[in-house]
């Protein structure tokens, strides 16, 4: 879980720079349930927002899709080593709600990766 939390912190950093772009890309709210902890990623409003306390936080929007997985699966997803589709087929990833939205996860996670500087 520790890794996921750090990755989400990285994602939060990316939101501050490219939030609007990611919102345009994703247009939805995703709830990640990773080893019992909830991360709510709002890529529907404004320039995006991350709720580290999940859906219980005040003012948090309703999730369009809920993704349940383990920490190491999320690490693999985030680094692009594992595709969400594949994880889903293998049963490592459970999806509730708007499945189509989960297919857009890869580009979002990719955009959240650190960029090399010129």
């Amino acid at each position: 879980m520790a890794a996921s939390k750090e990755l989400f912190k990285g994602l939060e950093q990316a939101l501050s720079k490219e939030g609007e772009k990611l919102v345009k890309l994703f247009k939805g709210v995703a709830l990640f349930k990773i080893d019992g902890q909830d991360f709510l990623l709002d890529l529907k409003n404004g320039s995006g927002k991350l709720y580290f306390d999940g859906s219980s936080g005040s003012g948090a929007p309703k999730a369009d899709v809920t993704l349940t997985m383990s920490d190491d699966v999320f690490v693999k997803l985030a680094s692009g080593k594992l595709q969400p589709q594949m994880a889903f087929i293998q049963g490592k990833l459970k999806i509730q709600g708007n499945i189509a939205l989960s297919m857009k996860l890869t580009p979002v996670l990719k955009a959240a990766q650190p960029k090399a500087s010129l």
Binding site: A2, A3, E6, L7, S79, P114, K115, A116, S117, L118
Partner: protein, 744 residues
């Protein structure tokens, strides 16, 4: 004019429409650009029925459009510019007549609009003089799939902007007109500027696209640009009515801008008259659309059926009617132009005060120029000597139009026969500044935030000077700083340069070096802050501008990056005159084109290709960026920063393996190049090789602990490799312990 401008800015009409009419890629781009913007006019409170039955915001899957297709066929390279095989056109029109009856109102209105605006069938187009050509290619054309283009510019000035002023918006050398019109937008409140600019840009693209079909040889961007320049220059000289610039009767193509403008102004006058004399209550657009198809026969059909003399009568009648009301019209026009002139003349912007547009407007006010009937003429009292010449030109133009058919006549008839006065509603809608919709304001705010963020973002961009500087008492910190930089002690060099700045030594150069040191130290925020100061101290230094462009690119701040890259051109002694810089087309593609054309003629200038590579990174065309950087590297093989740029480009295009090699080159040249170290770590991380990335992050942080993002990356890498026992070292920022733990 004011009302029209406001409509234009507010999107009283729909720019999507304009884009949809285009058959070219640029037009499609425009529509894509606007896709999802929805149908502005519906939001503007117009009748919902006004919306076309079929959505037209087209993506790449553009529905087949017979008109466009026929136009494309008609404009095959063998055909004279702007022409269309008559038979094809006839067949097309038949199809459209059918469309008008089955799909009215929108379809028919489309048709009418097309004839009013289409480049090949404009009043001065040489269409009618084209012989029959080839078999009817339009036989197979299906029914129209969508309708309603070109209602982009509502209100009286619709046409005025449609034609060559739209070109003027984007025309580089004649940015003054754009200045003028943009300034007019200030009349409407500052909110207008952003949106106007964007709409004008789209509009200009549209016109580019139209012209492209007119002159197939002008496909190249630069040529196209110069073509538009020519058009604008022509227009401007025509407006000033200089001797010898009047379009000759035989040169229809060149005559386009002038005659279009004059006709549009004439239409404007008529509309003004309608407002004064009409007296009818405003009616929604819907009625107009319904009434048009039944009263106005398709122009093409009319031209085939109506005998020439009859059309002449129509025109003559129209002139009489128009001149009857000319005094009212004149007064009305004068009111508008005076207000315009006042605003423009008192503007703070000198460019604006001296603009040709203002010149034109004040001439209208003094009576030097007048709009009589459909023509823009010079006032008699001012220059009587000019009149015979004018008459001649006018006569020939009259004849020309006579020969060309009844487009004008039916247009005019349509105007008079039309029972409604929808323009009045248009005008009323735009009459008060208070009617600016909220949506507009928010859009402006959004646009402003993205377009002119310097003032907003740079509040937290002041340079953070280190608290304790060991070099404060050094005799010559500038020299020391250079020495330290040479030896690769970047953080120390930064301190030395800060001390030098504190002592007012070589301020510009010290700031520049400081910026460069911070960039190499992987701290773009500080680099930008330092470079901004350097730029202030030496605004003409090209290296500073280029570095600023690079740093802003790294921070994903496109607008600023472009701004500095363009300044680089405008400050360059050789290149500033080589290309036309427009302040109204600040977009990546256009800037890339500028650098590309410079690069073609100066293949030995590594800086140009460096800039080009950076720009391609902005546009995410990493392949091209790589080519540019490789070319630059062929000129400067031992430039460590170029190797790093090449590596970063490859890494960002998911080719981290190659990137690592390039970084290695950079590090061989400059072992303490923090940026390359951290990029190396990022390269491994992005491949999921977190374990491999950790030593690089630690190495980079050991040289510059201030590289804030790296701490986060390191944390991620550690968490992802499960090295949780070291995580507390990161939180404590204990570099020493980290180094020993990771064998450095």
């Amino acid at each position: 004019m004011e009302g029209a401008l406001r409509d234009f800015v507010q999107g009283g009409g729909n720019v999507c429409d304009a884009a949809a009419a285009s058959s070219s890629a640029a037009g499609r781009f425009a529509s894509q650009f606007l896709a999802g913007k929805g149908y502005d006019s519906a939001a503007q409170g117009q009748q919902p029925l006004n919306a076309p039955p079929i959505p037209f915001a087209m993506g790449p899957n553009q529905p087949f459009n017979p008109l466009n297709e026929a136009e494309r066929i008609g404009n095959a390279p063998t055909v004279a510019p702007g022409s269309m095989p008559l038979q094809a056109r006839r067949a097309m029109e038949d199809a459209w007549a059918g469309a008008a009856s089955t799909r009215s109102p929108a379809g028919a209105n489309w048709h009418e609009e097309f004839h009013r605006h289409g480049p090949g069938v404009g009043p001065s187009g040489p269409l009618q003089q084209q012989p029959l050509r080839g078999p009817a290619t339009a036989d197979a054309l299906p029914m129209p799939v969508h309708a309603e283009p070109f209602r982009c510019l509502n209100g009286p000035l619709r046409g005025f902007f449609r034609g060559d002023f739209a070109d003027a918006f984007s025309a580089a050398s004649d940015g003054q007109v754009a200045m003028a019109v943009q300034g007019v937008a200030q009349l409407l409140g500052s909110q207008g500027v952003g949106k106007l600019r964007r709409r004008a840009d789209i509009l200009a693209r549209q016109v580019f696209a139209e012209r492209e079909t007119v002159e197939p040889s002008h496909r190249n961007f630069v040529d196209q640009r110069s073509f538009v320049d020519r058009q604008v220059n022509e227009l401007m000289s025509a407006l000033r009515m200089k001797e010898g610039v009047m379009p000759a009767a035989g040169q229809q193509h060149q005559a386009v801008p002038w005659s279009q403008i004059s006709q549009d102004l004439g239409r404007r006058a008529q509309e003004a008259h309608m407002r004064v004399a009409g007296g009818m209550g405003p009616r929604p657009w819907m009625h107009e659309q319904q009434s048009l198809p039944c009263q106005v026969p398709p122009v093409g059909a009319a031209e085939m059926e109506v005998p020439q003399n009859q059309k002449a009568e129509e025109r003559a009648g129209g002139q009489q009617q128009a001149s009857k009301n000319s005094s009212e019209v004149e007064q009305d026009l004068l009111d508008h132009t005076r207000a315009l002139e006042e605003t423009m003349a008192t503007s703070d912007e000198p460019k604006f005060r001296q603009s040709k547009f203002l010149n034109f407007v004040s001439k209208m006010n003094t009576g030097e120029l007048k709009i009589v009937d459909e023509e823009l003429v010079e006032g008699q009292q001012e220059r009587p000597a000019m009149m015979p010449r004018r008459d001649e030109a006018w006569a020939s133009e009259f004849e020309e139009k006579l020969n060309m058919g009844g487009e004008w006549a039916s247009d005019f008839e349509n105007f008079n026969a039309r029972p409604d006065v929808s323009w009045a509603e248009d005008f009323a809608k735009g009459a008060g500044p208070s009617t600016i919709p909220d949506e507009w304001a928010s859009e402006f705010a959004e646009h402003y935030a993205s377009a002119a963020p310097d003032s907003l973002k740079q509040q937290d961009r002041s340079y953070d000077v280190s608290n304790s500087n060991p070099f404060e008492s050094t005799e010559n910190p500038f020299e020391l700083g250079q020495e330290l930089y040479k030896n690769g002690l970047l953080s120390e060099a930064a301190l030395a340069f800060e001390a030098a700045i504190g002592k007012d030594m070589h301020v510009a150069e010290s700031w520049r070096m400081l910026g460069m040191v911070h960039a190499e130290n992987d701290d773009d925020k500080q680099a930008i802050a330092a470079m901004v100061n350097a730029h202030a101290a030496d605004p003409t230094n090209l290296d500073i501008l280029l570095d600023l462009g690079v740093s802003h690119t790294n921070e994903l701040e496109t607008h600023e990056a472009l701004n500095y890259m363009r300044q680089w051109i405008s400050q360059h002694p050789e290149y500033k005159n080589a290309v036309a810089l427009s302040s109204y087309e600040v977009n990546v593609a256009e800037t890339i084109n500028l650098f590309d054309s410079i690069g073609r003629s100066n293949p030995q200038d590594a800086n140009v290709f460096t800039a080009l590579g950076v720009l391609y990174n902005l546009s995410k065309e990493y392949g091209k960026a790589e080519v540019a950087f490789r070319h630059a590297l062929s000129l400067q093989q031992d430039n460590h920063s170029l190797w790093n740029k090449l590596g970063a480009t490859q890494a960002n295009s998911s080719n981290s393996k190659e990137a690592v090699k390039a970084y290695q080159h950079a590090l061989n040249l400059k072992p303490n190049y923090v940026r390359a170290w951290s990029n190396m770590g990022i390269g491994f991380s992005n491949q999921g090789l977190y374990k491999e990335s950790i030593p690089y992050y630690v190495r980079a942080l050991s040289m510059n602990a201030n590289a804030e993002p790296l701490w986060g990356y390191l944390k991620i890498a550690m968490a992802c490799t499960g090295a949780l026992e070291h995580l507390h070292l990161v939180n404590e920022r204990n570099i020493g312990a980290l180094k020993t733990n990771f064998g450095l």
